[in-house]
Symmetry: C2
Subunit: 140 residues, 2 copies
DNA sequence: TATAGAGTGAGAATCACTATCGATAACAGG
DNA sequence: CCTGTTATCGATAGTGATTCTCACTCTATA
């Protein structure tokens, strides 16, 4: 394949390309699985690329709003971000190492739609996340 | 009607039957759909049955731990509680009025298990919530 | 290069939720 | 009904994540 112009760092239309935005995006790109805003902030500071807390949150929220990152809440209610394939899809996350794999979800999509129709609901959408222990962590 | 031995107020084994616990449970029972701890606290105060904030949270957490209430996080990350059928199941919630209906979920259960197996994950569990606008609210 | 205004960040403000711990009240016995 | 044991209360002081402020900085562009 060609893998041309890395759009990774390209700011969304109307957005400016700043060092901070690039840094947050980079940290997200570098992360194995999900990462919290706090974690990203800490990593950037440790990496010698300090970015203000407010900015980290601002960029992450923007990325989430434009569908460039996934957001889920962990049990403590903290937001966890993950850079991944654009478009609707779901994950199977390892509760031990955080690694996440995108899973095929036609079945749920169909089920959700079906349930909505069956109950007379419109504009039906859903939150679906799978958790478990990956083979690598299970073996340890 | 007979309104028999309402188990609703029966404290879990080892728990004491207090006015506060009864009040929280009652508020939950009375609620249409999901309710936040803050909301329950406010309602009880307004109803002239004041209960400490800490107690509301304590009771709700206990009920959740013993599977007597469902807990979900809204977009703001706030916990929402709902008294309902014990045992694993999912809901279709109206984003307008909060009313929620329990939906049949064999399909998702099977799908979740399948995905776990397919990816070598063990102890797979899931978070699944459906949202939409109920017919009543859609008509308004 | 000059300029408009998007973007930044230190620090204050929110806010849901938890920890403290002395006071209070269930409840099993007697 | 009295009483000791203790679970439970609740006013209050945290905690910790996320947001708000707003003067200052830098990107994008003519
Ligand atoms: Zn793992
Ligand atoms: Zn889906
Ligand atoms: Zn409705
Ligand atoms: Zn399920």
């Amino acid at each position: 394949m060609t893998t041309p112009p890395r759009e990774m760092t390209r700011p969304a239309p109307g957005r400016r390309d700043t060092r901070q935005r690039r840094a947050v995006l980079g940290a997200l790109e570098r992360a194995t699985g999900f990462a919290s805003a706090q974690a990203i902030h800490a990593r950037l500071r440790a990496a010698g690329t300090p970015v203000g807390m407010a900015t980290v949150y601002r960029v992450l929220r923007d990325l989430a709003d434009t569908g460039q990152v996934d957001v889920v809440r962990d049990d403590a209610g903290e937001q966890q971000f993950r850079r991944c394939t654009p478009g609707h899809h779901h994950h199977l996350v390892c509760v031990a190492c955080g690694r996440a794999v995108e899973v095929e979800s036609v079945a749920v999509e169909r089920w959700a739609e079906e349930m909505g129709r069956a109950n007379g609901f419109t504009d039906v959408h859903h939150d679906v996340e799978l958790f478990g222990t990956c083979s690598r962590c299970a073996g340890a």
